[in-house]
């Protein structure tokens, strides 16, 4: 399945490194990345391929949120279907 990881927080070196390291540790393949810094705010959206069962995916969601909190970042991992449902007819 595909999931969307969104990261928002104050810009500083190492954010992308941190997120991609966590992805790699959890066997999550990054398919696409787009990233901007708007008025000092770092915003990144990653599209990932995740081969986990339901429980594994939930653990990954919680893990990334916790890692984000530690670093003062807001990180969300969401199933791609929610975006498909809302924005495609």
């Amino acid at each position: 399945m595909k999931a969307i990881i969104s990261v928002v927080g104050k810009d500083r070196p190492g954010i992308m490194a941190m997120v991609s390291t966590e992805c790699s540790k959890n066997d999550v393949n990054i398919v696409d990345v787009s990233q901007t810094v708007l008025q000092g705010m770092f915003t990144m959206i990653m599209i990932c391929e995740i081969n986990k069962n339901k429980e594994g995916f939930k653990d990954f969601v919680t893990h990334m949120e916790d890692e984000g909190l530690k670093e003062g970042l807001s990180i969300h991992v969401m199933h791609e279907d929610i975006f498909n449902a809302m924005h495609k007819i």
């Binding site: 969601v61 279907d81 929610i82 975006f83 809302m86």
Partner: protein, 451 residues
């Protein structure tokens, strides 16, 4: 490929504009639990609810986590208990206690269906249930009750209207130590719907299947932001278009969540209720949408027109987004649950009479309105009859959920949670005693003769 702006838009809706699924409600038929022995009947109810709904909360929480969409409530609605009472007889409160216990065992937030449908007449079981409502609501925590006293097809049962005025006062009195919460868990309907996922009026109608999943969405904050972003230059029809598009997106989310829940629970998917349901959270208010359209305060001139447009646009946008639309479907205007409504009441812009006019063009009725503790039961019956007349003539659902602030010192009742806090509103001092005491029925209007 999903567009980056769309991703950001969705995340913003959830993070900043309080977009959420208000409720996943499992409707369960209890018809096969009826037994001539009330204790056996209660045992069967407990067993059936805990069997069917055992995974409801877990599945709701899982979906919430995986899809990043908050699902605020998980609820259960059941067959109107008056039908079981008609078979068993006995102390009807036992049913309420059984429902409360079952709901708490599976961990849901509310259970609805302590209900009776008496629009044309009252059976013995229904009378027993209605008489027991005040006690049932005072000895349970999460049981909700509803009584349908009128319909376009049958007219208005004025005997039941009179009785419900008394039941509301007694329910508030019996829970006066808990902010009169009993009356907040009780709703009186005209044209009640059988697949409503929202409380306090949810019950599982007898035309419904054995078990079903219904979903109610909520997104006033999202609609408000969209209207705000459009600015002041847009015409009303352009604003209607913007609301339609927003409602479409919100409803698609509801449809997705409902279909996943139905698949995982192995229960058929019923309907998405296209309702704009406010929460006390700042910004998640229907009144603010109306004010964003250009009203100084909700309740002022122009309010009914703005609300009519909002209600219609929400339906038009939502209807294409879902495979099956039902329930109440429209903008809700509960006073205590909507920060903008509360402000408007406090500012003197919004009164009971204006709210009544607003209910003629939206879902669902006079909802979560706190009135002075000395309001007589006949005055409340009069308010119920007025509201039911609007529903009956316009072939729409209307409801009254009114809370007399009995034994309260402050000018606001604090219910907490989704129910919010309600300022006490003025009620007309002129009596309708003689009319209410006439009883009988208001015959069905010409609109009922469609065949």
């Amino acid at each position: 490929m999903i567009n980056q702006n769309n991703i950001i838009e969705t995340i913003k809706m959830i993070e900043e504009q309080s977009l959420d699924i208000r409720t996943i409600t499992m409707g369960i038929s209890l018809l096969d639990c009826a037994d001539s022995d009330i204790d056996k009947s209660c045992e069967k109810i407990y067993e059936k609810i805990t069997r069917y709904a055992k995974d409801l909360v877990k599945v709701g929480n899982d979906i919430s986590k995986e899809y990043g969409i908050p699902i605020i409530n998980k609820r259960i609605s059941v067959t109107p208990i008056s039908l079981l009472q008609s078979v068993s007889g006995g102390d009807c409160v036992k049913y309420a206690i059984a429902l409360d216990k079952a709901a708490k065992t599976v961990g849901v937030d509310f259970i609805g269906g302590y209900s009776a449908l008496v629009q044309k007449g009252i059976t013995k079981g229904e009378q027993e249930l209605i008489d027991s409502i005040p006690k049932a609501l005072s000895v349970t925590d999460i049981v909700c009750s509803s009584v349908n006293i009128g319909s376009t097809k049958a007219g208005i049962n004025m005997e039941a209207v009179k009785k419900m005025g008394e039941v509301i006062v007694e329910s508030a009195f019996k829970t006066k130590d808990k902010a009169c919460i009993g009356a907040a868990k009780l709703v009186v309907f005209c044209n009640a719907v059988e697949d409503n996922p929202f409380m306090a009026g949810a019950f599982h109608g007898i035309s419904e299947p054995e078990v079903v999943i219904n979903v109610g969405v909520s997104g006033p904050g999202v609609v408000r932001s969209a209207v705000k972003e459009a600015g002041k230059d847009k015409s009303m029809n352009e604003i209607a278009e913007i609301i339609k598009k927003t409602a479409f997106k919100i409803t698609r989310m509801g449809q997705l969540v409902g279909s996943i829940a139905s698949e995982r629970l192995n229960v058929p998917f019923g309907i998405v209720d296209l309702s704009l349901a406010p929460t006390p959270a700042v910004g998640d208010s229907v009144a603010y949408i109306l004010e964003e359209m250009g009203l100084e305060k909700c309740g002022g001139p122009g309010t009914t027109a703005a609300l009519a447009m909002l209600n219609d646009a929400v339906k038009k946008g939502g209807v294409m987004a879902s495979s099956s639309v039902g329930g109440l479907s429209g903008a809700f205007i509960p006073v205590s649950e909507d920060a903008g409504m509360i402000e408007a009441v406090k500012a003197g812009a919004l009164n009971l009479e204006k709210l009544e006019a607003m209910t003629a063009v939206c879902s669902v009725g006079l909802d979560m309105i706190v009135v002075p503790g000395d309001t007589s039961s006949t005055t409340i019956s009069g308010i119920i009859a007025d509201e039911a007349a609007i529903g009956m003539v316009n072939s729409k659902t209307t409801a009254v959920r009114i809370i007399p602030a009995i034994g309260q010192n402050s000018d606001t009742l604090e219910f907490g949670g989704l129910l919010g806090s309600g300022p006490i509103m003025n009620v007309s001092k002129f009596s309708c005693d003689d009319m209410i005491n006439r009883g009988g029925r208001i015959p069905a209007p010409m609109q009922s003769l469609k065949n």
